[in-house]
Amino acid sequence: MDFVLQSVLNGILAGCIYALFAMGLTLIYGVLNFVNFAHGELIMWGAYFLYLLMEKPLSLPISLALPPALFLTILLGIGIDQFVFKPLRRANRLTLLIAALGLSFFLRNGAQFFWGAEIRTYGFEIKRGMRFLGVSITFNQIAIILTSILCILFLYLLFHRSRIGKSMRAVSDHLELARVVGIDTKRTIRIAWIISALLAGVGGILLALDTNLQPGMGLINLVKAFAATLLGGVGNFWGAFWGGILIGLAENLGVLVISPGYKDAIAFGIMVLMLLIRPATLLGSEESS
């Protein structure tokens, strides 16, 4: 096995997962100007919805269970906005932050209530990866990479080539002004939540297929996704994508040199550095809101 090449691949894989989550985070940030700390729980619930449909009594095959699972995740995303964030639309950022944190606990404990804290799997058989150039990769891992690329292309086209995307950007720039010029801001915000929840659901399911299901699965990856978001500049999709990949690579290659006990320190180190060097990415948008 080629250790460096395998580490690069592992880095890209981890990076793609971070990127998928970071894109959903950055989308909500872009449109509503707050960090949705409950995004990790959307990810987790997406994975658990699929589990629910694939287990007894329904026992659906994955191809049939996937669309309704994603649909349920989207419904949850819309529900979150409707019942928690919509009433707080004019609240200050601190209130929104605390609401998101509270919601995160609520949703995580909710999943724990229904399924318990133990780990679960979808029950697929484990396979050895295919081998190319001394590197092994599983079918599922190829799916992760392709899905993230598709998602970023989809977002790019949506934002730069469609009316919805333009209205989202307008809402992001100035909510009141967008409303004044006749943009249906409610619809725009709803679409942003739908896409964000969809990205979370897809990412969560891919992550669970690659590893296992557990109530904390979203949270552990969210912090990395947040670092990726900062790295790429908040509200910037390509930035979120490359930020995710970069953090994944930095972690995986860094560990070949330093002790893996400090793996997380790499991601957080990058995050702290970004906050110190480029605080404008965060504060800049605060000024405009």
Partner: protein, 370 residues
Amino acid sequence: MRKLTCLIIFLGILMHFSISSGTAQETYRIGAAFALSGSIAVYGEGFKKAVDLAVEEINAAGGIKGKKIEIMYEDNKSTAKDCVTAVRKLITVDKVPVIFGPAASSNFMAAAPVAQESKVVMISAEGAAPGLTKAGEYIFRVFPSDVLQGKGISDLCVRLNYKEVPIMYVNNDWGLGLKNVFVENFKKAGGKVTDEIPYDEGKTDYRTELIRATKGNPPATVNLTYIKEGAVMFKQGYEMGIKTQWICGSAAKAPKLVELAGKAIEGIIGTYPVFSQETKEYKAFRAAWKKKYGDEKIPIFGEYNYDMVFLTAKAIEKGGYTSEGIRKALFEVGKGYRGVTGDKTFDQDRGVGSEYGVWTVKDAQIVDYK
């Protein structure tokens, strides 16, 4: 106000009863702060059955110098806080000189200082944490410490002729403690630890750590893991085509791991504390269990609880019904004592030794390694 008065009167009556029964002293009373409700109550019930069986046998044989023993059960609700409350109640209200402590090392260790300060003997039949008896000279265990397991894993590596191994471990008190004991013993035995890889609990991606550990394709890798982390790791290692002989401790020996990791853990081996089920002591215990409870479903650690009661009874007989007497006598009665779980000689840390067996996974079943 009247409600409050009623309550006070009621409590007064209640206390009167407990005190009056306490002054009678017709029996030797032993406290037991067991988990009878809460998250690990499922274990607590089993421990209680094992203790009850031992008590019944001792009393049937005439008790201790003609006096019967009686267990004062106190529910510790499976939380550290209520363990402290339960132990405190047993000491101050029931005034027992010896207590069977709570299960779960962390719960036991929370309550141990209370017993130590009050100079009351407290014994654990399930705690594995190396520092379990650290609180002081009144704290004992009849269950082997994880420290011994570190040596057991080292011995296993030597036995299988693995001279150079990397070690991966969960980055917490348990993992770090066990790792240190392993490294120390393995070096003493002439082995070489090529790399030490700590990893965090509860992550979803361990590929990096796995790559680092198996750099240079070591024939065997020691991995001190739990079920959750092990399931993710062995699966990801299998997918990456890592071929090494995984060697684990007893924490990974669980059907749940087999369920989660499937064929990725076929052939994995590990150590666990064992005692022979062929001894006359064990056979007698099993027969007695079947007679009392009508089945052979002996709960996990039930045997250790059973031994704990007998040791305590012997200590009371020898040293008298005082905590100081029991504390001193425990060493004497434990010396060379062959219980259901083997030799119960206490070492200077008031713990006991154990033999270690080796388990492996074959055809999705945990079996003894041969």
